[in-house]
Amino acid sequence: MNRQEELLRQACAMLAEEETNALENSLSPAAKAEAEKLYRQHRLKIFALIQKETKKKKGAFPFLLKAAACLMLIAGAAWIGLHQHHPDPIPMTPLPSASIVPYYSPVPTETIIPTHAPEETAIPTLTPDPTSTPTPVPTITPTFTLTPTPSPTFTPLPTRTPDVAEAAPAVIPEETSGTAPGQWQGVYFPQALPEGYAIADTEEDSSSRSIVYTKDTSSIIFTEYNLQKAMTIQEGAKLSYVQIGDQIGLKMETDNAVTLSWEMDGHTLSITCTAADAEEIAASVKKVSR
């Protein structure tokens, strides 16, 4: 870098800082509030963007290099594990023979009193007769006779032209399909809710629909948005990412409720619970079959 370039860099950096300071000093409370509002509406999207881009940012080469290093590490550890001589975990010292106490003493043979005596029977012994000639063993030659049997004749079954309805391909239900209450017109619905909750309200407009379940003072609200939507984040909410199926969801925890929001196939889904386990409910959300 030559001297001129360095001077230009320094001058541009000074100018940028000066202009940034001027911008900061010129902001009215209304402009600050407007900026804050835009930030609140938009930040979920930016967090998602950051997460997505930082995952794929690193090139394939360093990743492969690291993956190869990891595999070598694992293989090396496995090899060492297999080939290493393992000394006995508890060293064994041979006891002096005098101290070996037998578990049992041999019973002296004199003390064995037979309870019964076997009857003495003469076993005949076979003595070969030197005069007899051995009889040759006949060899058996198996003979098979194959009798041809007539092959059965098949009569073709009567053919039938299928109906138009039958000709349509069969609809194979999706493995992930679930059910929903009749009034739910959405695409997704949770398949597992804690016991005792009953539908209290439903709402629907052109872009979203919600269903509210209540039990005593607790409630569960499930909302489905037709499009990707950045969720509004409450002031002071604790934010974290959670895995919901194969999606990453945003968890917002406040003093009295937990809200999970995530995307599925272009829809934004959210569950707000005051007492129940939102993650468990979210994990059960499936596409509704109709």
Binding site: A13, L15, E34, C70
Partner: protein, 183 residues
């Protein structure tokens, strides 16, 4: 078994936290800058999104910047994205990309002049450049973008970027030499 896998994720996790923190720390200035140019909330958000995309490509540079320079870098990046968005919205060609001709020897005009002028005076001269030339100087010398990166961001050809820079340096030299309206 899991430790090597965690090791693979550390770097990305670190980048994510770094970006989230700079965004959270400087969001007010970024949105205010975008809003000042676009005068439209949705477009201001789009400008910030575009700026974040551009910033994500410069992570190593951003990590090396001191805090005050990092703040300026974010604001200037948002400003450039907002200007580009505003120009696209108005369906105007952001810069005349066809009739530009370089000033012969413009790169050499300021030889010696820069040295004599000092950084403060160069800064004042850059501030007096026509807005487009000033922004392209900032892109090159503050955001440290290549010709190709500037071309991609502004939607013009790389050769035009070189011509614009050449023209900006000629104007700068004139300003420093007192041939144009500088004290």
């Amino acid at each position: 078994m899991f430790i090597p896998l965690i090791f693979l994720l550390i770097e990305n996790e670190d980048d994510r936290q770094f970006f989230e923190s700079i965004y959270v720390d400087h969001h007010r200035l970024m949105y205010a800058q975008a809003l000042q140019i676009t005068r439209n909330g949705q477009e201001a958000q789009d400008a910030v999104s575009d700026a974040m995309m551009a910033l994500l490509k410069k992570i190593d540079l951003l990590r090396s910047l001191p805090c005050n320079k990092l703040r300026s870098y974010l604001v200037i990046t948002v400003r450039h994205q907002a200007i580009n968005l505003y120009n696209r919205k108005k369906r105007e060609q952001p810069m005349d990309d066809t009739v530009l001709t370089a000033f012969p020897g413009a790169d050499r005009v300021e030889d010696g002049l820069m040295e004599q002028s000092g950084v403060e005076r160069i800064k004042e001269a850059i501030a007096l450049l026509p807005p487009r030339e000033k922004e392209i100087m900032l892109m090159r010398y503050f955001r440290e973008m290549t010709d190709e990166e500037i071309a991609a961001e502004m939607g013009i050809r790389a050769v035009s970027v070189r011509v614009h820079l050449s023209r900006a340096r000629k104007h700068l030299a004139d300003l420093l030499a007192g041939r144009e309206g500088m004290e």
